[in-house]
């Protein structure tokens, strides 16, 4: 049954984005806000806002009973979780089902099977999709050395309980493996209460490529092409683009097929992303993980396909079939997105909460700005520092980057520091222009070369 009224269980730009999709679908939106977000843009543009708790996310955005109570109390028939917060917690779709609400996303079972790294890796292997060369859990340093000798150096030791870049140790040569294993396992035990380690061959020049999929409740699974998110800092994406033109087309086609196959095997419903790592030198690829939600970088895919992914999520959750087939999906031109954070790149990326005294968005063809900011907006100190995403579309990568560059230079943000100067440095760097960058390039090569603020391109704050 098509949705009538949706509770948006999130904040920031993604809450605004979901409200927009609801408006486009003719669905009423209710935004669940914390005390700190009562006057947020999402609260103001939605049909209604409901304050569910104090600023602390654990008592508001992360509190499933409060979120469900807000949905029931306002007569919503569905909950959209956005990304982050509760979006990949299987308990939320379960609580929705218990209370007669629709969860905009896959089932709890799919979230569990897709989210468990070991289980997802096994599923991929069973489908013949390559996973990183390496081991299951390793018992001791001697075994670690045996495995490392087999897969070849460098290798990376990973804590089974780690994630998001934590609990990883890079090992360059055989004589260092055993000691590294003992140390890393001890640290993992201390940090995660779980000393289990596994080992993978380390790809020196890795590209992060991910495939967007959409699946409806009628058995249709399609991909919307892939995104390249190789410009990262500390495993956090900075710049994302579609399609992944730096990766050979035959590899991209293999990734797209693998993603659809994996989604089918997971009985996937809704929007999801299958992430891969691609070795820039050999073209070999390996499955990384499945993200069972809409992603921050979904707009670049929307820009090249013309398909509104969040509206599709709402349609699928309402039981409607996808209105297009795989053959209808066409990739048009190129799109690039940057994430603008309220952080000072010259002070160790220290977050800078405060008041955005002026906010003026750039204009121009092919530009899109997804944001919750406005002049006078006070950035609460309780949440992440994402201010906006600036997305540029062009007939080709050159044009998209030219538009993005100008857009970033004409964006006016006063009152708080932003990462714009660093983002400009990224997209203007010859390596990025040539598409030869990799996931560690920003930290290893670009950042050390970044000079003082006055020598680095800054966004033009003055009127032209």
């Amino acid at each position: 049954m098509p949705l009538r009224r949706v509770l948006v269980a999130n904040r920031g730009e993604i809450a605004v984005r979901v409200v927009r999709a609801c408006a486009d679908e003719g669905i009423e939106s209710v935004v669940a806000v914390s005390e700190a977000d009562r006057d947020s843009r999402a609260a103001l543009v939605a049909d209604r806002a409901v304050c569910i708790g104090p600023a602390s996310a654990t008592s508001s955005y992360l509190d499933i009973p409060r979120v469900v109570a807000a949905a029931l109390g306002t007569g919503c028939d569905a909950i959209h979780p956005g990304y982050g917060f509760l979006s990949e917690r299987p308990e939320l779709p379960e609580a929705c089902a218990d209370n007669g609400l629709v969860f905009v996303g896959p089932t709890a079972d799919t979230i569990r099977r897709g989210g468990d790294k070991a289980a997802a890796r096994q599923l991929a292997t069973s489908l013949g999709i390559p996973v990183g060369a390496g081991s299951d859990t390793i018992a001791d340093g001697v075994t670690a050395r045996d495995v490392a000798d087999r897969v070849g150096y460098p290798v990376v030791l990973k804590a089974a309980a780690g994630g998001g870049g934590r609990g990883m140790v890079l090992v360059e040569s055989a004589d260092a493996v055993e000691a590294a294993f003992e140390g890393a396992s001890r640290e993992a035990q201390a940090a995660f209460g779980d000393g289990r380690m596994y080992l993978e061959r380390f790809i020196t020049r890795a590209r992060h490529v991910e495939v967007q999929v959409l699946a409806d409740t009628h058995g249709s699974v399609v991909h919307l092409g892939e995104r390249d998110c190789s410009a990262q800092r500390r495993y956090q994406k900075l710049v994302e683009e579609a399609p992944a033109t730096a990766v050979p087309l035959d590899v991209r086609k293999a990734l797209r097929e693998a993603a659809v196959e994996l989604a089918r095997a997971l009985d996937y419903v809704g929007a999801g992303t299958v992430e891969f790592v691609v070795d820039a030198e050999t073209g070999d690829y390996a499955f990384l993980e499945v993200n069972t939600r809409v992603q921050v970088e979904h707009p670049v895919t929307e820009m090249v396909t013309g398909i509104d992914i969040v509206r599709a999520q709402l349609q699928i959750a309402g039981g409607l079939p996808l209105p297009f087939s795989q053959d209808d999906v066409r990739l048009d031109g190129h799109a690039v997105e940057v994430r603008i954070n309220a952080e000072d790149p010259y002070r160790g990326f220290a977050p800078g909460p405060g008041t955005v005294s002026r906010w003026v968005e750039p204009v121009g063809g092919g530009l899109r700005i997804d944001t919750h900011c406005f002049g006078g907006y006070r950035i609460p100190p309780h949440y992440d520092s994402l201010l906006a995403k600036v997305i540029a579309h062009g007939a080709d990568r050159e044009e998209a980057l030219r538009r993005l560059d100008r857009g970033l230079r004409k964006l006016v943000v006063d009152g708080v520091p932003t990462t714009v100067p660093m983002l400009l440095a990224v997209i203007e760097a010859p390596e990025f222009r040539a598409g030869t960058h990799h996931t560690r390039w920003v930290e290893q090569e670009l950042m050390p070369s970044l000079s003082a603020p006055q020598a680095t391109p800054k966004p033009a704050a003055a009127p032209a």
């Binding site: 806000v33 006057d39 939605a46 209604r48 806002a49 304050c51 109570a69 807000a70 109390g73 007569g75």
Partner: protein, 187 residues
């Protein structure tokens, strides 16, 4: 005398219809300030010299009391009434804003909801309410239950005094920070 929400509504209507920019009323210990400029009147604090709070902080103590019988002020415009979503209580662009300030330091204590949830005045449907208007409460006395998905949270009065008003209908949904009761403080 005690002020009911209807009294406050009447006051605000009269103020809205007037040409005044601000109005201050001191009644029986309650200090009521109305202003068109979206700021507490600078001079109104006379009896209690305190810095004028920033209206943008929109703290619960300066929201229209939670029964939503009052016109929504600008800052609270999007935070809806507990009623159905359809009549969105939006403030028309350009409409003159009316900020109601009920100075709870001057003898009235507001009991606010600790969470979103359902407001229950009694421990179970067959039991009498925890408190009635005119009844005395001690700070630790339970005054209501906020139900969040079968979790029943008792809310305490938080101050000793006499219950002046109940601001929410039994069984209604309330938001975090919404006013549930007004209590006339002892002394």
């Amino acid at each position: 005398m005690s002020l009911t929400p209807a009294d406050l509504q009447a006051l605000i209507s009269a103020f809205d219809a007037s040409e005044w920019d601000e109005m201050t009323l001191v009644l029986d210990g309650a200090n009521i300030q109305l202003s068109r400029i979206g700021q507490p009147p600078a001079t109104a604090a006379g009896a209690q010299p305190r810095p004028a709070p920033d209206p943008r902080t929109a703290s619960p103590s300066r929201r229209p009391s939670g029964g939503a019988h009052l016109p929504a002020a600008t800052a609270a415009g999007a935070i809806g009434s507990p009623a159905d979503v359809a009549p969105v209580p939006a403030v028309e662009a350009g409409e003159r804003s009316t900020e109601l300030i009920l100075e709870h330091t001057s003898g009235v204590h507001r009991v606010t909801s600790p969470s979103v949830g359902v407001f229950w005045r009694a421990p179970d449907p067959s039991a009498p309410p925890f408190v009635e208007v005119g009844g005395r409460v001690d700070p630790d006395d339970p005054v209501c239950i906020i139900e969040v998905m079968k979790l029943f949270n008792h809310v305490q009065a938080g101050a000793g005094g006499v219950v002046r008003s109940v601001e929410v209908e039994n069984g209604a949904m309330v938001e975090h920070g919404q006013t549930l009761f007004l209590i006339d403080l002892d002394g």
